[in-house]
Symmetry: none
Subunit: 124 residues, 4 copies
DNA sequence: GTGGTCTAGACCACC
DNA sequence: GTGGTCTAGACCACG
């Protein structure tokens, strides 16, 4: 579990956890049926409240990415590889569409956007 | 003042106002020294609390985009054209960099991103 | 808000609230755009923790039955009448199918079930 | 002992066992004085903890459906055939009455319920 | 040991 | 006033 928490981020802690675990599942760093740390263990690792780690797991379960069984623990749910690949695109598309909308309102051309994208991708 | 407010948006109302006025200034729809509606007038137009419109103007003033003269009202502050153009890019860059970072974490290539960008720009 | 809580029920408190509010929405006792009590108010009414009432509202929002806007409160979301009628059936069907399955395992005939149903409906 | 365990079910494992053995006794698939597998044997068969199989037998004993003789094992207790038949009905009635109560709260008529019942019984 | 529920009390942002 | 987040600490059921 490589998770990094920033207390000063405006993004809620549980969201940070959800996002990072989600990414690890979607990119195949966490495989199906793999056990996740218990909510108490994760809370201890990240120095957060048990409630916060629990909340993150609840959200992931709602998304169908993990399954948690009482008294046993939580596990990555088996996923079709293509489904995962699709999800990866959806996540970025959703964010990208916001940027594009705003860019259009600011009359920024596709060429300008493409140039910025290339530049940022290389340096970031 | 063409401003559209969505009460159900997760974006705070004052933020919606700030963003829209900022865009209009940056794109040249609102020119230097042009008078803005009074906070009371704006609140009435948008059916919101005076506190909220006041907060939006405060934010815009902090960004140096408008100036408020006690007893007179608020005005768009004169801006160098190049400065405005620069700001336009900065706003989008800031958003785009987040997307790029996330995309890299999800191992999405520059080519894939460019393709998504083209597609979204055309259809959106 | 006519909600009755039983502390001795095995059904979690937040589930009891969800179920009762859901029923009131689905049966049209609560109409679209109607404001619900604030989570704090509801907690006070029912003598429960704010967290518990909040959790109930979260679940209802996830089901799309209410919308809650920060700083404003929670409201019944407008729903198509037919959709509501459909949901009513779905809820009961889901429960009924469990009973039917179990009845079949116990070799209880359809006639016997129908008789029990009639009897229970009249007396209950 | 035809028992199927689902680890992912929300129904506790010991409950699944109790329910299935109970059904087999009530429907006459397990007859009076018939020996049941030892708790250790059952635990081995089902790949569960001995504690869990023990708990299931305890519950069944509490219900008077089996008797456990120290050092000998557990046996189906002899039951009057009419008693069994009665129990069969009680189990379903208890479940059905919940559905009926909920249906009434949702203003679903007896006719509608009967129709759903017929439909579900045939297809399920 | 595990998760599930509930509690009381705090701080923040928004309106 | 509203909801959103986070905390610490408790009790229960399951295995």
């Amino acid at each position: 579990m490589d998770i990094i928490i920033s207390n000063s981020s405006p993004e809620p802690i549980y969201e940070q956890i959800v996002r990072q675990i989600r990414n690890q599942i979607i990119t195949g760093q966490l495989l199906g049926d793999e056990p996740l740390p218990s909510i108490r263990n994760l809370a201890w690792q990240l120095q957060i409240s048990v409630i916060t780690s629990k909340r993150a797991y609840e959200e992931l379960e709602r998304e169908g990415l993990i399954v948690t069984v009482g008294g046993k623990g939580s596990f990555v749910s088996s996923q079709n590889k293509d489904t995962l690949r699709e999800k990866r695109y959806e996540i970025i598309k959703e964010k990208l569409v916001c940027v594009v909308k705003e860019a259009k309102l600011l009359s920024i051309s596709l060429q300008e956007l493409e140039e910025m994208l290339k530049h940022l991708y290389k340096e970031a």
